[in-house]
């Protein structure tokens, strides 16, 4: 069986260690005996790192973001124009900033059509009411949540039939199967039909029996998830 030789990666902090032949010869002795026996065939590659202050300075010297550049500064650097730099850091949007659509008809902000004029040049805030850029890009974004849009296709007769089926055999006609059969959500099935108290008790007992088999870690995780969801709805997360 052949021993596959693998070269250990060179320590990234010291370039001299990798390039020096003396140290390169000495290195296998502290590794496994298999590597010590085999001759070193690979040549150590030279990698450049920011080992000096001047290189570090040069690397950190990044050009400013384009939102900090005024239109005039690109032409003449000496010219200082008075302009407002609007570049907020990326943070969660405040709920006190009312979306344009939520402004009432009488609000002066709506009438003044602020987003189109004032923030059109901003690179960080894109008001969705600017029609040119967003109309195509918004619809291109992937949707989250219920896959298909709501259909309002069920008639009262369908609901009646659903109730009858559910009352006849709640085990076979479970909520999921009825939702599948009628092409609606499970929540709608629950809205429409209520199973018998005996069936509900049986389901509840089955869930309790299942949960009784859980260990402490699984139960703790279950309770933690429920608590987190409640915290989310309470606005604490």
């Amino acid at each position: 069986m052949e021993v596959q030789l693998t070269r250990r990666p060179v320590a990234s902090c010291c370039r001299r260690l990798a390039s020096s032949p003396l140290l390169g010869h000495r290195r296998p002795t502290i590794l496994s005996p298999a590597t010590a026996a085999a001759p070193s065939t690979t040549t150590p590659t030279q990698t450049r790192h920011k080992a000096t202050a001047s290189r570090t300075k040069r690397a950190l010297n990044i050009a400013p973001h384009k939102s900090f550049l005024s239109p005039s500064s690109s032409n003449t650097t000496s010219q200082k124009s008075t302009h407002v730099i609007f570049n907020p850091p990326s943070a969660a949007p405040s709920v006190y900033h009312t979306p344009f659509k939520f402004l009432p008809k009488t609000d002066p902000r709506r009438r003044a059509n602020l987003p189109a004029n004032l923030f059109a040049s901003s690179s960080t805030i894109q008001f969705s009411s600017t029609p040119t850029t967003t109309s195509a890009s918004v619809t291109a974004l992937p949707t989250v949540g219920p896959a298909s849009p709501k259909k309002y296709h069920l008639t009262p007769e369908d609901v009646q039939q659903m109730r009858e089926l559910r009352a006849a055999d709640p085990v076979r006609n479970s909520v999921a199967s009825l939702a599948n059969r009628f092409g609606c959500s499970k929540l709608f099935v629950i809205f429409c039909c209520q199973s018998s108290p005996q069936h509900r008790d049986k389901i509840r007992e089955a869930i309790a029996a299942e949960q009784a088999r859980w260990g402490p870690r699984k139960m703790a995780a279950f309770q933690e998830r429920a608590r987190r969801r409640q915290m989310l709805l309470d606005g604490e997360l």
């Binding site: 969660a92 006190y96 659509k101 969705s128 949540g145 849009p149 997360l237």
Partner: protein
């Protein structure tokens, strides 16, 4: 319909004038205290002029020997001692009160009804006036500044601005301390209330109706939002109808007997004593506003409320709790004729890692309504819906919004109608 003359409500509170009250105060006060309650009520009525009361006192009691009386027998310090109290003068100066407000009036605001039951020496009347003024200004400012707030949130916000807990903090920030026990010998600059006295016959209650169904033994009574608007007090709470015969100490003992344990003593006593202290401090703050209204007028009282109560910071966004935010947002969009809300993934990182972050935006048509980041797609979607709903509810016409009471000033500009919203999207309870 009979018109309420608000300016006359506080006429009898101006008895303590700086000049007239100083000289005959002590004998008159002692005499008035010993009088029977029905006589007191008559004297209040007769006191539309303060001079009449003085005459009575001079004729009847000044002739008596100025025998030394024991101040410890009095329930609260005499009004003329207010002039010697350094604490009181410091409080008057610290609050930048007008010199029109005499120190005696300020001393009276510090006497709770549980310390002195006499309505002419405690702060109940002043506090009632102050409470109506404070609650009015807070409510009108909230309704004009955030016209879309649901009613439960308005109640909570009013309570957070001018409820007992908030006014307790206001009083503490003014540097007001309370006496260990009330009495005639304590410094008039200390807040005086008692945790042991029976509940006084005349207590400060808000505007509202006593409802028999709110009795503790009657559970499960229907209590909707409109119901609470009509019947309950300014904070949406049922008016307290516990009988007056019950003593405060009984209430404390009842608390402990319910739990079958020793009362939990903290640095401020038990929870019950803390409640009593909060009520007393809040009553004092309300009485100060009432005194300002009585002596300086409407605009001074409004400026004082604005400076000391409305200037406090309250993050209204944290008061909201939602049961089904996505359903509520869909209902809102349907009501307002917007396109149905659609959640879209804006960006994500580390989907297969232990700590992924998804940024989800909720769009109605092409307009973004809300955006949030969350550790899962579902959490981010729920949070974005919550943010969109908060953005709807927390709409504000601006921070310089005018309120109706601004129109009471002479030469006010023409009133522009405030924004009035359609109302709640989904009413719970």
């Amino acid at each position: 319909m009979k018109r309420l003359r608000v300016d006359r409500l506080t006429g009898h509170l101006l008895v303590a004038r700086p000049r007239s009250c100083c000289s005959p105060a002590s004998p008159a006060a002692v005499a008035l205290r010993s009088a029977r309650p029905d006589h007191c009520i008559r004297s209040i009525r007769a006191q539309s002029t303060a001079a009449a009361a003085q005459q009575v006192s001079e004729v009847d009691y000044l002739s008596e020997s100025k025998s030394a009386f024991d101040p410890t027998e009095l329930p609260s310090p005499l009004p003329n001692r207010a002039l010697q109290s350094a604490k009181l003068a410091a409080l008057h100066a610290r609050l930048s009160l007008s010199p029109k407000i005499p120190l005696q009036a300020l001393a009276r605001t510090l006497v709770d009804a549980s310390a002195d039951e006499h309505p002419q020496f405690n702060n109940t009347n002043l506090a009632f006036v102050g409470q109506t003024i404070i609650n009015y200004h807070v409510a009108e400012w909230l309704m004009c500044r955030y016209p879309r707030l649901p009613m439960p949130i308005i109640w909570e916000a009013v309570k957070a601005y001018c409820g007992p807990a908030a006014l307790f903090q206001v009083a503490r920030s003014w540097g007001v301390e309370h006496a260990a026990a009330p009495g005639g010998e304590v410094d008039p600059g200390l807040l005086q209330f008692s945790v042991h006295n029976p509940k006084p016959a005349v207590t400060l209650v808000g505007l509202g109706y006593k409802r028999v169904e709110a009795e503790p033994d009657k559970r499960h009574w229907r209590r909707g939002i409109s119901n609470r608007v009509v019947f309950d007090d300014d904070f949406g709470n049922a008016v307290d109808i516990t009988p007056n015969t019950e003593t405060r100490l009984d209430l404390m003992q009842e608390d402990t007997s319910d739990q079958q344990t020793e009362p939990v003593y903290t640095s401020y006593g038990t929870h019950r004593t803390r409640e009593i202290a909060e009520e007393a401090h809040a009553t004092f703050v309300r009485a100060v506003v009432g005194a300002i209204y009585a002596h300086c007028g409407r605009e001074s009282a409004k400026a004082f409320v604005k400076a000391h109560i409305l200037s406090r910071t309250l993050d209204l966004a944290r008061l909201f709790r939602f049961a089904k935010p996505t359903v509520e947002l869909a209902t809102l969009c349907a009501r307002e004729d917007f396109d149905a809300p659609v959640a879209r993934l804006l960006s994500e990182t580390g989907r297969l890692s232990r700590t992924p972050v998804f940024v989800v935006g909720i769009y109605s048509g092409k307009d973004k309504l809300g955006e949030a980041a969350g550790p899962s797609l579902d959490a981010a979607r729920l949070k974005a819906a919550i943010n969109a709903l908060k953005a709807w509810y927390l709409y504000s016409p601006g921070d310089k919004v005018r309120v109706p009471s601004d129109m009471l000033v002479e030469g006010a500009a023409k009133w522009e109608p405030a924004h009035i919203d359609l109302g709640e999207i989904v009413t719970s309870h």
